[in-house]
Amino acid sequence: MGRKLLLEHINVPGINTFDVYRSKGGYAAVEKALKTLTPDEIVEEVKKSGLRGRGGAGFPTGMKWSFLAKPEGKARYLVCNGDESEPGTFKDRYLMTYIPHLLIEGMIISSFALGANVSYIYVRGEMMPQIRILEKAIAEAKAKGFLGKNILGTGYDLELYVQPGGGAYICGEETALIESLEGKRGNPRIKPPFPAIAGLWGCPTVVNNVESIAAVVPIIRDGGEEYAKIGIGRSTGTKLISAGGNLVKPGIYEIDLGLPVEEFLYSDEYCGGIANGKRLKAVVAGGSSVPILPANLFLKTAALAPRLMSYESLSDGGFATGTMMGSGGFIAFDEDQCIVRNTWNFTRFYHHESCGQCSPCREGTGWMEKVLHRLEYGHGKMSDMDLLVDVSKKIEGNTICPLGDAAAWPVASAIRHFRDEFEWHVTNPSAALAGNFGLAHYADPLPAPEPVA
């Protein structure tokens, strides 16, 4: 049983209220931070913790904070990214719904560390109930003197506001989010300048995921070194995993990074195995954008080492045989699922969500969607797979923002690992319309790796 740092009190009745949250030790980290630490010391603790951004890219949070420019006479902003739109990811909604004060507490500490006096939590517009919950929690915290002017008599002022989005995946990308917060279309900006130099209204800005900000609370409460004791290697601390797809127990789990994937998938403490007694065919480990892996390569690396839920182990083997931690959006596919159909669905998603600024992304996602549609619906050609890989390669790395890559990787990886299934769609179009390729060999034991000379 791993330690719970974020969800420890999630089942305590009334934990969504200030008083109950406070009675469980809540806001003690704010007191510690504002009364006994300097902003630089907080940044130092976060660096020591090894915390890596939980929004998907995994960039070290403390380092990101230390890049924030501090020009005289200019406001600095902290913006929390609660856009949570990456298919497969649903942890931030859970956190904001059930333990909103954890996020508020993290926002106060982080804003103080960055020298922000006004901070925003940008939440996707569909999460109207969560927006109300956060606004209520903010009002409570303010009434108790943890927000507003002269917090706890320390002289530090902070206003916190919740901003709704409008239903656009792209606004999860940090510069699109900033544009959206400014009241514009969610078109990502060309970087540089990075938000740390010129972000919201041209001012230095840090954008962090909800879970990253929440993790700052136990880091400050217990110290960065304590946090870093959990986990493995450069994957420190705990991580929320949103587990969905064909599982016995889908849901949100807080794991110690480094947990073996086999244990996560099959133990009763976590996902409890594959639903309906079926077998596992494939996994998308970190949200729809990361490469899909067949069951055998997911459970073990190409070197036959057990795969772990850590940044390094999941990416072991690079894109040839590995994947990525991403946002922790874990999607399990059982033996009845069709990889071609899923790839088409994901590509349709990216085409729909492309902001349209760059032609490789706008047009390329559309072409890939069309080709995948014809493969799925029985009109595919043998050359389509190479065509898809070709288009995906032309998108990858050639766009303003990483949505292009996010759209290219699922297609390239599906063809890399499931080419047989795509070919079967071409050679057996009517069978593919009526049924599907099944588990095939995708869970077979992997061949022993070549001995290294």
Binding site: M128, S242, P250
Partner: protein
């Protein structure tokens, strides 16, 4: 699509709505009131059920920005409805993870049950439906939401859809 030439009567916002809009604008620094655009469009949509061109003009007026700045934003974000919908708009997630657990069947069922295609309104004006992208509830799919409060209905089955539609029909009649 928005057709600005089909302008209806100008709208005047109620005092209550205007007060809420003023509260929104107070969250941003002096001169950055445009940041209030998305929250205000949500308020307008909650009030009228959709966002008409005259309503957008009134928003532009309120925020001291050009009407085009409102149109380009309102049409970019899928949540803003550019034409009237049923009193209850059922928005069903159609993205991959939900499809693994039967979202497509649920959408077919809703279409058949309501007897209208995606985007159309039932003759009694009560219902319309559409597929939307991942709603961050993938572990509890299939899932749908209903605005303006965006209440979630999770782990959908045909029976749950029946109950939901019956409940909403009864609610609308009272």
């Amino acid at each position: 699509m928005l057709r600005v030439e089909e302008k209806q009567e100008p709208v005047t916002f109620s005092a209550e709505l205007t007060a809420k809009m003023a509260d929104v604008v107070s969250r941003y620094p002096e001169g950055k009131q445009k940041a209030g655009l998305l929250p205000i469009l949500h308020l307008v949509q909650a009030e009228y059920g959709w966002v008409s061109a005259p309503a957008m003009d009134a928003v532009a007026d309120y925020l001291s920005i050009q009407p085009i700045e409102v149109y380009e934003v309102a049409t970019f974000y899928t949540m803003f409805l550019m034409r009237p919908q049923g009193k209850y708009l059922l928005e069903v997630c159609r993205t991959g993870p939900c499809c693994l657990v039967g979202a497509e069947k649920i959408m077919d069922y809703i279409e058949q049950k309501l007897g209208v295609k995606e985007g159309e309104v039932t003759p009694d004006g009560l219902f319309s439906w559409r597929g939307v992208e991942c709603l961050a509830a993938c572990g509890f799919g299939p899932v749908l939401q209903i605005g303006p409060e965006y209440t979630f209905y999770e782990n959908l089955t045909a029976e749950k859809v029946d109950t939901l539609i019956a409940d909403l029909t009864a609610k609308a009649k009272n």
